[in-house]
Each structure stands twice: as C-alpha cells, then as structure tokens.
C-alpha cells in the first residue's frame, strides 16, 4: 500500500480531507497542530489569528487512490503551499 502524507495550512485542511474522501480512501489520520518552514516562510503558529499554522494528514491507500489524491492535491498546493509525500508501507489487515 501507499502512505500519502500532506502538510498544509490548517485553514485548508478541510479541502484536503474532501480530496481524500472523493478519492475513496478507507480512512485517514490528522494531527491538527504542526509548525514548519518552507518557501512561504515560517509557520510558527499564531495564537491569535491561527493564520500561520499547519496541519498534518496521512492516509494509507492503494496505488491508484494515491495517484488520484496527488493529482487533486497538486493544484491546491501550487496555490496555497504545503507539502505532499508518498511512500511504501505495509498495512496490517485486521
């Protein structure tokens, strides 16, 4: 299976989740507060405005679903910034 990880400005988290849903993942895990640094500068977390804070999401899915996700996420990242990683994992069936 593939593990797709996305880091994005918290305010756009819901959009990423929509993408995942549409792509048909079986589930996902979110860590709401992540800080970071990238092209768009430091995201140090702004207590007041929440404007400079990231969220981290990962989902485990099949290769095709992963492909769908990346295709959908790319334009979003291009517009609002963020990061997306794909790697191989073993999913423990239960």
């Amino acid at each position: 299976m593939k593990k797709v990880e996305v880091v994005i400005d918290s305010i756009y988290l819901s959009r990423v989740l929509d993408v995942l849903e549409k792509a048909g993942v079986s589930g996902y895990t979110v860590i709401k507060d992540a800080l970071g640094k990238g092209e768009r500068g430091i995201m140090a977390g702004d207590e007041l405005t929440d404007v400079f804070k990231n969220s981290y999401v990962f989902t485990v899915c099949s290769e095709e679903v992963a492909y769908k996700i990346t295709e959908e996420v790319r334009p979003l990242l291009k517009k609002v910034g963020g990061a997306c990683l794909v790697s191989d994992v073993l999913w423990l069936m239960h």
Partner: protein, 323 residues
Amino acid sequence: MGFDLILQNILNPPVLMFLLGLGAVLLKTELEVPQPLPKLFSLYLLIAIGLHGGYELSKSGIALEVLKVLILAVFMAVLVPIYAFFILRLKLDIYNAVAISATYGSISAVTFITAGSFLNNLGESYGGYMVAAMTLMESPAIVIGLILLTLFAKRENNSRVNWGEVLREAFLNPSVYVLMGTLLIGFLTGEKGWKAMEPLFGVLFKGMLAFFLLDMGIVAGRRIGDIKKVGTFLLAFGVLLPVFNALVGIFLAKTFGFAKGDAFMFSILCASASYIAVPAAMRLSVPEANPSLYVTMALAITFPFNIAVGIPLYYFVINHLWG
C-alpha cells in the same frame, strides 16, 4: 495637545501590560501565553461586553436614536473599505488591496474594549448599543472586499469566489455570533441576569483585559520583524488611515448628534482594523494576497498605534468638539 492624556492613557495597567508583552519578544525572553489561553481571554471579553451591553440596552430600551447609530455604523463599515481600496491600488495589486481594505473596514474588539476602559477611567460612559454597532461593523467589509475583487480581478474559474463560504465566514464567524448571542442574553435576562454574571464578567473585566493585552503584546511583537517587508507606503497607510477614519467618524457623529461617549467609541470602531475575523476570511477567499502584509499591518502597526496614541488623540479632538 493633551500630552497628559497620552500619559494618563499609557500609565494604565492594561496598556503597560501590552508593552510588557512587546518587550518580552524584543528582548527574546521565552515568555508566551500558550494556546488556548488567548482564546479563553478573547472569548471572555466578547461574552463580557456582550452581556453588559445587552443589560445596558435592557435598561435604556431601543430608542430611535439607537437605530441612527446602528445605520451609521454599517454605513462606515461599507464606505471605509471602498475608499481604502482605491488608495491602496495606487501601489498594490488587486488581491492585496482587497485584503487590506477589508481588514481596515472591519473592527478590533480589543481596541474597542481598551477604549471603553479608558473612557471609564475618566468617569464617562457609552451606550450599550455601541456593542451592537461594533457587531454590525465586523462583517460588511469582507463582503465589500470580495465584491471589489469580483469586479476588478479576472481569475480563472477554479478560483471563483465561493459566496456561500464567504457569507458564512462573514456573518457567522465566532466573534460575531458570540457578541450577538450574548447581547441578546444580556437583554433578555436584564437586571437579574447581570447580577448573577457580574462577579465574573463585570468585576474581573479590567484584570482580564490586562492579562489578554500581555498576550496581544507578545503576538504583535512577533510580527514587528515583518514591518520591514511591509514598506513605508503601507506603514504610513497603517497609521494615517485610522486617523482619517476616526475623523470621518467624528464628523458624522457630530452632524448626527451622538452623545460624547458614543462618538468616541464610534471613532475607535472606524479607526480600528481586524486581525482575526477578516484575515481568516481573506485566507480562504483571497489566497493570492499575502497575509504577512495585512495581518502585520493590523496587528503590529495599527493596533499598537490606536492603543497608545489613537485613543487619547481621538478623545482629545472629541473633547474639544463636545466640550
């Protein structure tokens, strides 16, 4: 001018706490007021002015004069972002012009509250309906901003404004909702209700404000580094527009015969800029604009200016006109 006024304003625990927070960042101490404590304080302050304003309204009742105030409030909330936009277009691209003008069209509750306690220290007061006025002034600028955007910006389809999302952000953002709700609650429960809430939401008010301003100082301080990036034009804009807005507000207040305290609070509303509701909305609907411009201006330039200089300055003018 009333230099003593400035001093008297600054020599107040709340304002000094703001400076203390500012200093904490400049001196690189690791002082912080971690989340969600700032949310606790701002929520407290919103509930407190809402309940108290509603209680005041329940005593005064809703006279015609109240309507006058509310209408003028909305009028200014619509007017300011429009002229602000065209001023900004002289130097900025459409997206940033929209975001910044919306920021200045809206209001800052904390500035309003600090002004209130300043007035209070002078033994004067304002009508509870001013809180309603503030509530009404928070959202229109967002809508105006996005109308300007759709009029002047040509964007590819995939980033057309999602009006549903925008209107929700504008009129159902948490602070507007809490203010309206608590105003209503204060109004409905009247004397009896306020007596029950006063120990927490009345008596402790100034202390909580001071506590919150300590955090405001820290947050503002963190942005001070970005002022360089903002540039002289926007720096000047962030200081002069508030003054201009305040004067327009004072002029209207005078011509329409506001009471002195109301006029002062009204001028503050016109002068203040939003660093919470509007930035959130702009991030969603105008991602092309650079938040480290509009957030920095509202938080690190206009807010401190109003707190330290604006409040006594506007009061000084009003004091002359109303005598």
